[in-house]
């Protein structure tokens, strides 16, 4: 921290915010020195995003003050925040796909009714920014054609063009390959050298350790600690976040694989537009093992899992469960028939697929099981049985709050995932398909979910796991397959899989050491 004479780039004093009964921020004070990278970590619902939304003018705090560069600022709208030199890179990009990079950047700051003059000025300025921070973005490219990592850099460019001195990044690496993430960190380092300040909201402790100068840990809406990154470590941070000791990696014994449960041969899957997403994948999963599929999101994993579950039709190849064909060119069992034959599926997007968000928890907890005789009495659903069964599962899977009548949407990500997990595991499946089991789930729940998956494996079930989190793959899988552009480009045993090897394979470098 060099510029000790300069006032903090951002100082928040006593920020308090309630949403009805939820106390999202409790008297939060935070000081971010100028020219540093500051991490804010915390579990889901800890209040990180609310705090940053207040700073960026989306919400208005009930109490508290914001000071920018030593001056008190009243930030009521995002325009106020931008005027104060604050920029934000959202988790979900706010870009117009059909516009070029240049057009996206000037959107909202065109500088006059006629585009021509403003565009020319913007072009010069963008060229300068792009070179200065080594963003490697072609400003005439159409955004829709750009890879995710590049789109994120367009967002950064947008913020810088609007004069941002402080950049807020919300979970920036969630969608990036390890290589893209490294590039992002180099850009942040360059920004820091120029005296700019970055605030990084994340739940990935490894990144916090790698790049930040200081870290603020939040729990239940309050700041529990602000520490220098150099003086702490990941497990200490995890403990602060959760409030108790957590195992970042669940203990497990070696797998004892049995008979082949899932057999896939030459599988090809095309999407609704007729583009082939899975190009001839063959794999098998045995009883009592977890096979992990690593890969950057969007390389065919989703399509593969959905084809196995029966949600997507297949174009060629064969899928068999316990020796019985589920799908082949002339055969296709419905999702329900596949479930009846011992398949369970924890989908990667619980909001869109795993739950019916406006339903009460007990109704979400029978999705896919609605015809199960245990939940029906003659023509009617047996409400008593449904609610009791849900309450009992909530107890055993530690779902909080354990109220089956609460609307599914009102549970936190981790608890929603536990509802799905309980429903699927309790069908006693032979094969469990799992997609991104801990996306958007807090650390305490991650540990719980990992334990359950290992326990299921030890009970002799076959598990096919897709995850973009390398930590998760390395922590759970007994065998790792890497998918890139719809193909399996590598297969490694757990013992020989390392982050480095997987990273290279994921990036499409096939000759991994």
């Amino acid at each position: 921290m060099t510029a000790s004479a300069k006032p903090p780039a951002i100082e928040l004093r006593g920020i308090d915010k309630r949403f009805g009964p939820v106390h999202a921020n409790r008297d939060v004070s935070l000081s971010v020195p100028a020219g540093t990278i500051h991490g804010i970590v915390g579990e889901n619902g800890a209040g990180k995003s609310t705090l940053m939304s207040i700073l960026y003018g989306y919400y208005h705090a009930d109490a508290g003050e914001a000071w920018v560069d030593g001056k008190r600022r009243d930030i009521r709208t995002t325009a106020d925040a931008i005027a104060a030199g604050i920029g934000m890179v959202h988790q979900h990009f706010m870009l117009v796909d059909t516009f070029t990079v240049l057009e996206n950047v000037v959107l909202g700051v065109e500088g006059g009714a006629l585009l021509k003059g403003g565009m020319a000025r913007a072009r010069t300025e963008l060229g300068r920014l792009e070179r200065e921070y080594k963003l490697d973005v072609d400003i005439d490219a159409v955004v829709g054609d750009l890879a995710v990592g590049l789109r994120q850099r367009v967002e950064i460019l947008k913020a810088l063009y609007r004069g941002a001195n402080v950049l807020i990044l919300d979970e920036p690496t969630g969608v990036l390959t390890p290589t893209e993430a490294d590039h992002l960190f180099r850009i942040l380092a360059a920004l820091k050298r120029e005296g700019k300040t970055a605030i990084l909201i994340t739940h990935k402790l490894r990144e916090v350790m790698a790049i930040t100068d200081n870290v603020t840990v939040m729990r239940r809406g309050a700041v529990v600690a602000t520490v220098r990154t150099a003086e702490t470590d990941a497990s200490r941070l995890a403990e602060l976040m959760v409030g108790r000791k957590v195992l970042l990696r669940v203990e497990r014994t070696p797998a004892r694989p049995g008979r082949v449960v899932l057999e896939i041969d030459g599988l090809r899957v095309t999407d609704a537009l007729g583009i082939e997403r899975v190009h001839g994948v063959s794999l098998d999963v045995r009883a009592g093992e977890i096979v992990g599929i690593a890969g950057v999101a969007g390389n065919g994993q989703t399509e593969l899992i959905e084809a196995i579950a029966g949600i997507r039709p297949i174009a060629a190849g064969r899928i068999a469960l316990n020796g019985e064909t589920l799908a082949a060119p002339e055969v296709s069992l419905t999702p329900r028939e596949r479930r009846e034959r011992g398949l369970a599926h924890i989908p990667e997007d619980r909001q869109r697929m795993g739950l019916v968000v406006p339903f009460a928890a007990h109704d979400s907890a029978i999705l896919g099981q609605q015809a199960n005789p245990a939940y029906n009495r003659y023509l009617l659903l047996d409400r008593r049985a449904i609610i009791d069964s849900c309450a009992e599962k909530m107890q055993r899977y530690d779902v909080r709050p354990d109220n089956p009548r609460l609307i599914s949407a009102n549970f936190s990500g981790g608890n929603q995932q536990k509802i799905v997990l309980a429903r699927e595991i309790e069908t006693d499946p032979d094969l469990l398909l799992v997609g991104q089991p801990t996306r958007g789930v807090d650390i305490g729940a991650i540990e719980f979910i990992h334990r359950r998956l290992i326990a299921l494996r030890d009970a002799g079930k076959a598990i096919l796991l897709v995850s973009v989190e390398l930590d998760e793959i390395l922590g759970l899988a007994d065998r790792v397959l890497v998918m890139n552009e719809g193909r399996v480009v590598g297969a490694l045993d757990a013992a020989e899989a390392t982050e480095h090897k997987l990273g290279l394979l994921m990036a499409g470098v096939t000759k991994a050491a």
Binding site: H60, A61, R336, P347, R352, F359, I366, Q370, L379, L381
Partner: protein, 374 residues
């Protein structure tokens, strides 16, 4: 990111106060219209209320209209729960009447115990068939249900005109209507049934279809919220992706929901054709199908809410007729304007006052913004 949700106001605000405020707003604007026309709005309101609920005969008429609105409101609601906007209730009701009429014309000599149930079944079946086609096209071909159902309204109207002018018309007659059915096929009037039990009720078109409407309401509630098929229907309506994941075939649900919706709308034919007209005529649906949309919207797509909203609209229909009788300056057209205003405020502008009302009653009122950051 959006504004913070403030759905923590008490439920009665959303369910009872909001419709009441909407209704009040409609009456205020209607009052202004009446004032401009030189009549006393309060006297007009008095006449409207007396004309719809003030005496036994009026109540009978109000309930008779409400019966139609229950059927069409339920029809809109069941489609809505499956994520479909069925605006073809008018045509489905028209065809339902045709089904009932065919049974009555063909089987007039059969005993009522057989003909009446058959007529009801035929009305439902014809309505269901008329909605099945748009449902099928939506599910299998992606033709938008709003477009197809409204086109089917026109087809239904043309078909009925053709049939009445060319097929069912009485020989030697000018007006396009069928012969009168045999009395055995008439849905008994409530005042007749009551009279048989020694209870004297005023004469009105109210017939036993009102009982059918109540049964349909209860049955639909049980179906939607207490059976696995209703569960599947609601899952499809909320989230089709989750439905597919859960082993539900959305195409089948869409077709079934439309058929059910059409069947409910078709029951208007029982009330009108078997209950009141006792012959097939033109345009007996009188816009009930469209008003059903407002009824369902105001009733929150719930059978209880729909029954209450149907009563309101029934009262408006009946009271409106009395009103133009009492105050000749308020012509039939002005009454239509008043009904339109109620539909506008309770239907199209249904959410107009919601944000403010919910904020007003939010349980934990937020601290004054003035005290906040900055």
């Amino acid at each position: 990111m959006g504004p913070p949700s403030s759905n923590d106001a008490p439920r009665w605000v959303d369910l009872a106060l909001l419709p009441a405020v909407n209704l009040l707003a409609a009456f205020v604007v209607a009052g202004l219209v009446i004032l401009v026309l030189g009549e006393n709005p309060l006297a007009a309101l008095g006449s409207l209320v007396y004309g719809s609920l003030g005496y036994a005969e009026a109540i009978g008429f109000t309930l008779y209209y409400a019966t139609n609105f229950v059927f069409t409101g339920l029809a809109v609601a069941v489609a809505f729960h499956a994520g479909l906007f069925n605006i073809g209730g008018e045509g489905q009701a028209y065809l339902g009447g045709l089904g009932a009429g065919l049974v009555c014309l063909a089987l007039g000599s059969w005993p009522p115990a057989i003909v009446l149930p058959l007529g009801v079944i035929a009305a439902a079946a014809f309505g269901a068939a008329w909605a099945f086609v748009p449902g099928y096209l939506q599910a299998k071909r992606g033709s938008h249900i709003v477009i197809t159902t409204i086109m089917f309204n026109f087809i239904a109207a043309a078909l009925m005109t053709y049939l009445l002018v060319n097929v069912f018309i009485k020989p030697g007659q000018q007006s396009p209507e069928s012969r009168e059915f045999e009395p055995a096929t008439w849905m008994p009037f409530v005042h007749e049934v009551a009279g048989a039990f020694g209870v004297a009720l005023a004469k009105s078109p109210l017939n036993l279809s009102v009982v059918l409407a109540l049964l349909a309401s209860v049955a639909l509630w049980v179906f939607l919220w207490r059976t696995r098929w209703g569960y599947a229907l609601r899952v499809v309506g909320f989230n089709e992706t989750a439905a597919i994941y859960g082993g539900i075939a959305p195409a089948r649900v869409v077709i079934a929901a439309m058929a059910l919706s059409g069947a409910l709308a078709g029951l208007v034919g029982v009330n009108e054709i078997m209950g009141v007209q006792h012959r097939l005529i033109l345009n007996f649906t009188g816009g009930y199908g469209f008003v059903g949309i407002a009824v369902a919207l105001m009733g929150r797509n719930h059978p209880v809410g729909i029954a209450l909203a149907a009563l309101l609209f029934g009262a408006l229909y009946q009271g409106g007729t009395e009103l133009s009788f009492d105050m000749p300056r308020l012509t039939k057209e002005v009454v239509v304007v008043i009904q339109g205003l109620v539909i506008l405020f309770c239907g199209a502008f249904e959410g107009l006052f919601r944000p403010r009302l919910l904020a007003l009653f939010a349980r934990n009122a937020q601290a004054p913004a003035a005290a906040a950051a900055g």
